[in-house]
Subunit: 346 residues, 2 copies
Amino acid sequence: LSSTRDPDSGGRPARAGEFQLIERYMAPLAAPRDGEDGGGDAFGLHNDAAVLPPLAPDERLVVTVDTLIQGRHFLDCPAETVGRKALRVNLSDLAAMGARPLGYLLASAWPQDIEEAWIADFCRGLAADQETFGVTLFGGDTTATSGPMTLSLTAFGKLNGATALDRGSVRPGDDIYVSGTLGDAYLGLRALCGELDGLAPAARDTLVRRYRLPEPRLALGQALLDEGLARSALDVSDGLAADLGHLLEASGVAAEIELAALPLGDAARQALTLLAEPPEVVLGGGDDYELLFAAAPGQRAAIAALAERLGLAITRIGRAGAGSGLVVRDAAGREVFLQHRGWTHF
Amino acid sequence: LSSTRDPDSGGRPARAGEFQLIERYMAPLAAPRDGEDGGGDAFGLHNDAAVLPPLAPDERLVVTVDTLIQGRHFLDCPAETVGRKALRVNLSDLAAMGARPLGYLLASAWPQDIEEAWIADFCRGLAADQETFGVTLFGGDTTATSGPMTLSLTAFGKLNGATALDRGSVRPGDDIYVSGTLGDAYLGLRALCGELDGLAPAARDTLVRRYRLPEPRLALGQALLDEGLARSALDVSDGLAADLGHLLEASGVAAEIELAALPLGDAARQALTLLAEPPEVVLGGGDDYELLFAAAPGQRAAIAALAERLGLAITRIGRAGAGSGLVVRDAAGREVFLQHRGWTHF
């Protein structure tokens, strides 16, 4: 763990007590977990860099980084959920590769007026999620910023072999699936922005929680890879239309999806009714962090069994074909116009 | 490589052409280098995360992250040097562990009004340094920010075994050494801030260049580790007094250093004369990225030979002892008061 000093502050640290804050709140996150040897020192707590634990000969390391900026990627979120969201969106990227999480580095740029209580809550949330996901803090960097809080989290995972789920492997004829429900996080954000004040409290809580604490689909990604059920996956962060576009473009295929098949939860349906908006708006809303994947039609029974085993909805929403581009059809087979289609990548 | 969408922008990307900018300028940085197989895809260019190339069984992976914020960690720097500085300060952390660099992840938060030409220059600089240091871009994340440009770079290196240079291994009686010259970068920053306008242009250029483009001492760190010359090292980023304090505290020892022994370059001496400031001010100035290390007195001849072989000044500046704290002595043996001592960590 390091503290990047502010070099134009005439030799004073960017904020008083920075080293102490790191020592008090961040260092415990890097402590070895029960039953592990190696200790915090091996992970570089007091060094410039961290030495990672070795992998088995057939394992491969997977790394990913995502930045979350206050007011942009998290809005009106309790401190306790902010670090957890930063961790979870990165674990979601590991899930989309079929990897098992190991740990993370955290680069934090804090506003200068941040309160110690905020940092304490932030780190308490991270500690809870470290327990949930079996990961530890490998190291990091803390600095002050004149701008919004900016958190860059690098997550590390491992694969059992050299193969990962890949974006570019969808084949014409493959079924397109998505896990869980769509649009909850997007509607949760709109609730936080005051657009859903008439919504029942329980429904509102469901949506807001989905925005604040996405659920990385790690067990699903690992099973899809290990059991050979899918070749291609990604996580829905930009919205289903955009992300499916990425999958199709990387694979050089087209797809049709059925509007009626999209998995919407009860809370999302209530919110859309209140807003008087059609279901397709959820295709342009991000932050769901559900897994979107393609699988051969021969895998339908195995995927249904997997959904049952994981206790997680997995919905077949369409099919890949030759060509390029995404078509969305309503129940009558008519093409649905997507309002935000312009910015998607196809 | 991913683009973190702005979820509160109503489904539009944070800035137009973001995917295109990534594809045009960042993607080439992730291309495999000559003579390497694996290809960009293995490194996750089109996936959520990157799969790293495997290490040999006895090698260990080392990781580090540092954030650089515009106006704070880089000031008045040409675009071409900004990415290079972000890379080099991280390679310097690898050098301090004795590791060999492999590659990096880059999380960039760009101001919304950034110009494409700036990004092109930024990436051209990174491409040059990738060549110099034999590293490649493994992946990253690009987003927009309402605040200052914020770059978090995660660097990956490898050790030949499980042992690294460590901060906590200085022993009483060890000699304290530093590579290169001290204070150049700090004085370069002061030149950029207009404090050294009377300085000869060549001297000014030397100092400014040291601020903008630090030289990670990779060969030195590797030799210190591989040849068993030192157990303990770190890179001087906060200033020698603060960083030596970290080394002493982690090791539970004290040290005395001699002011007259500090390696100052000609340009730094000219600048200090012009400023009418004493040499000890460089102890509080950061950004040198020289290696500070401790070695047993029996290694003096071997370290002198190493300095000769590397063509790099390595100066013995003092000695560790029992106890705690740092004392700086002038040529007459009197203790020197350090103005910025208060914020250092001992």
